[in-house]
């Protein structure tokens, strides 16, 4: 069921891999870089690193608790849903300025390779969710002998 849902997204959703987004991000800043370099608003939301055996995705989720994070992996798609609520103001407190966002976040990432879903591991530390996904072995070419 889930796989079929993902396939539909593939058709109708403008999927782009994180790498594409990243490249765009970097080239945009290269163009602007000279006068506008030191400060960038916010923080990096997603990092993706592909190694020989694993794909590691790091997602910034500051102040989110593990109970409110849901991770789904199907084939080469990763989906993370998370939620954090704004703490209520105490008596006599006033919010003077707000930049942090609250509520639900949902990130869907097309991975650069298929992964072994049951072996995916996730860890939440210092507000960073690290998802380690072992890659599926590439299908090896198999020699087939012809019966004589």
């Amino acid at each position: 069921m889930l796989a079929r849902r993902n396939d539909n997204w593939g058709l109708f959703h403008p999927w782009r891999t994180v790498n594409d987004l990243h490249k765009e991000f970097i080239s945009l800043f290269d163009e602007l870089s000279e006068g506008f370099n030191r400060f960038r608003a916010s923080y990096p939301k997603i990092n993706l690193n592909e190694g020989d055996k694993d794909i590691v995705v790091q997602m910034a989720l500051p102040g989110y608790s593990a109970d409110n994070i849901e991770i789904e992996v199907v084939s080469n798609f990763l989906m993370v849903r998370a939620e954090r609520t704004q703490p209520k103001l105490g008596k006599g407190e006033r919010l003077l300025h707000q930049e942090r966002t609250f509520g639900k976040v949902e990130e869907s990432i097309k991975l650069p390779a298929k992964v072994k879903s049951p072996k995916v591991k996730a860890k939440l530390a210092d507000g960073v969710l690290t998802i380690t996904m072992p890659k599926m072995e590439a299908e090896k070419a198999q020699k087939i002998l012809i019966n004589k």
């Binding site: 970097i26 030191r38 400060f39 960038r40 608003a41 916010s42 923080y43 990096p44 990092n47 790091q58 910034a60 989720l61 500051p62 102040g63 989110y64 608790s65 103001l89 105490g90 006599g92 407190e93 006033r94 919010l95 003077l96 300025h97 707000q98 930049e99 942090r100 966002t101 210092d126 507000g127 960073v128």
Partner: protein, 109 residues
């Protein structure tokens, strides 16, 4: 000939901040995912609070670092600023000087 530019080994980000005021002072809350407590520095100099924290995360071979500064009022008691870092959220508590606090005066009957 082009002069080689000094390339920073850091990529700096200004973390988003909330400011909450109560009678006793101000709470400054910042999202700093991945920030390491031992690299966190908070300095106050001539009315400017500057904070900096390194992370273990990298992008384009550069270490992601948080850096931001805030103008603070001289009503703040900078000697008694407290910092708490939990789950990637930094909370700075800036108390007001005793003389700057609102004191409610009870009217004697």
């Amino acid at each position: 000939m082009a002069v080689p530019q000094k390339v920073s080994e850091y990529m700096d980000f200004a973390p988003p901040a909330d400011v909450i005021e109560d009678h006793g002072g101000i709470r400054l809350i910042l999202d700093v995912p991945g920030a390491a407590a031992d690299s966190l520095s908070v300095n106050v100099e001539s009315g400017e609070l500057e904070l900096s924290a390194d992370t273990g995360m990298k992008r384009c071979d550069k270490t992601i670092r948080y850096k931001r500064s805030f103008q603070i009022s001289d009503q703040m008691d900078v000697e008694n600023i407290k910092a708490k870092l939990e789950n990637g959220v930094l909370e700075l508590t800036l108390p007001k000087h005793e003389h700057a606090k609102v004191h409610k005066v009870k009217i004697e009957a």
